[in-house]
Symmetry: C2
Subunit: 297 residues, 2 copies
């Protein structure tokens, strides 16, 4: 048996390093009179998690010298009003990136809202045109922020991927699917043999046990157990669920899709929750916004 | 050991049945004074295989009562001239579907040409917007003709897919990738656990041996051998290569990516080449063109 020394894939630290580079680039743009990246974020309602996410994004903008605009609506805002605002931001030359924090209230079509955002300002990478361009391997596409963040995490930590077998748990449009595509692309990181698993997958344990890399993105707290993981595997935990916990000041604790305590000792690398994929998603969003700004030069 | 009775997945027969239904629908449209579907096909140069493919498509149009327009250019045609013609066809209200037979000569950008076609007339399903919409599971997307044809073949022959492990050999934008997405969708056929393999995949034999369904789309003649296939597997052969063969009147014979003679006895179902995926691709193209016409009602 090969005993491996587990290392944390520290998303917080990696994101900081990436954002620092962007910050320097922004300062240089400012010094030479070029346009400063500007992100507009729309938040609907008072969902606690959504507020936290949007605040982190605005904070990241401030830290690296981006301009940010936060537009907040009450839960009851009409779809029409939201679409009008997006149209206004699409036309506003000062805005480089637009994000609408999901989920939206049931009376608003998320699809309509996402498709209303100009593909050229869709820094979350959710617009069908960007998804399509990503698949075609077109460099100008905005890659969905979470999978892009994971690719950056693998890249910055020099995790070998070529020829490895990656198993992606989850087939969502914004994480599982794009993740599987990016990992199988002829790029570095990339060139993995990729298996996508989901709720209908049989013999899941057997498939996971073969994986060199596992990306868990199913939103089921502590789903991935030690017996599903091969010794020395790399485990990326995309899940983040708030579980009630009276012992915490906030009243909850954050849990990933991986049973960290059980699984971590078997891994060569594993992301923590929080502090793993979350900060990387924000770093990826900032990189997309920066790219959009440069595209407009 | 389970001895299975191999059955041919007859693409020719299945395509005929599907096209017959479309033909009846077209006749009904004609009888009620509705618009008849119109496919415009562009062929550049004199590549023998391309001519054969385009001719088959035009022939299929004629057989089911579609209008077809074949536009032929010499190898030397400029990119600009081609793009102008596409623009004209985009604006022509009488045209429902536009296809440009690939490959194009090296001096013309295939990407520019594909993206010039209006997404709403892109019946080959190659435009990034259609690829993106397919991934988002949007019903109005045109699905790339070859993977769509394979899905129709599975559907019409009642091949069970739910929970099965499908292995897709090849990661091309127009076959391998969309195939892997369609097979893993929450649909029927679909709901497979899907593994995408490619040139960098290690232990390919081991992975293929686990597959309930194999889709071979790598363009390497007779690549898939018997030892890579599990007893009772379903094998779909997308490859079609012309090999020189002096014993044939044409001077060549058509060979798939599967070593049919070796592999077939182990399969529950297998597609022949020719007469498997090829005719289904044409049936899918006709269905997309019909859909585009109905969308315009």
């Amino acid at each position: 048996m090969h005993l491996c020394k587990m290392q944390l894939l520290d998303g917080k630290k990696t994101a900081k390093a990436i954002l620092n580079t962007v910050k320097i680039d922004v300062a240089q743009r400012a010094a030479t009179g070029k346009k400063i990246p500007h992100l507009a974020a729309i938040l609907v309602g008072t969902n606690g998690a959504s507020q936290t996410y949007v605040n982190s994004k605005v904070k990241a903008c401030n830290e690296i010298g981006f301009i940010s605009t936060l537009i907040e609506y009450e839960e009851e805002v009409s779809e029409m009003k939201l679409l009008d605002k997006i149209q206004e931001l699409n036309e506003d030359m000062s805005v480089d990136g637009i994000l609408v924090q999901l989920p939206l209230p049931a009376h608003i079509s998320e699809r309509k809202v996402i498709e209303a955002i100009a593909a050229s300002k869709d820094v979350d990478g959710f617009h069908p045109e960007n998804i399509g361009r990503m698949i075609m391997g077109e460099a100008e596409a905005f890659i969905p922020a979470t999978p892009y963040g994971i690719m950056l995490l693998l890249e910055h930590n020099n995790i070998p991927t070529k020829g490895k077998h990656a198993v992606v748990l989850g087939r969502s449009n914004i994480v599982g699917r794009p993740m599987s595509i990016l990992l199988s692309n002829n790029t570095n990181p990339g060139n993995c043999t990729v298996t996508v698993c989901h709720s209908r997958t049989q013999n899941l344990n057997e498939i996971c046990s073969q994986a060199d890399i596992i990306v868990a993105a199913i939103g089921q707290p502590e789903f991935l157990k030690a017996e599903m993981v091969k010794e020395g595997a790399v485990v990326i935990d995309v899940g983040i669920t708030r579980l009630e916990d009276a012992s915490k000041k906030s009243g909850y604790r954050l849990v990933g899709d991986v049973d960290f305590e059980q699984v971590a000792p078997k891994c060569s690398f594993i992301t923590p929750v929080p502090g793993g994929v979350g900060p990387m998603t924000i770093a990826a969003l900032m990189k997309n916004t920066y790219k959009s700004c440069v595209n407009g030069d």
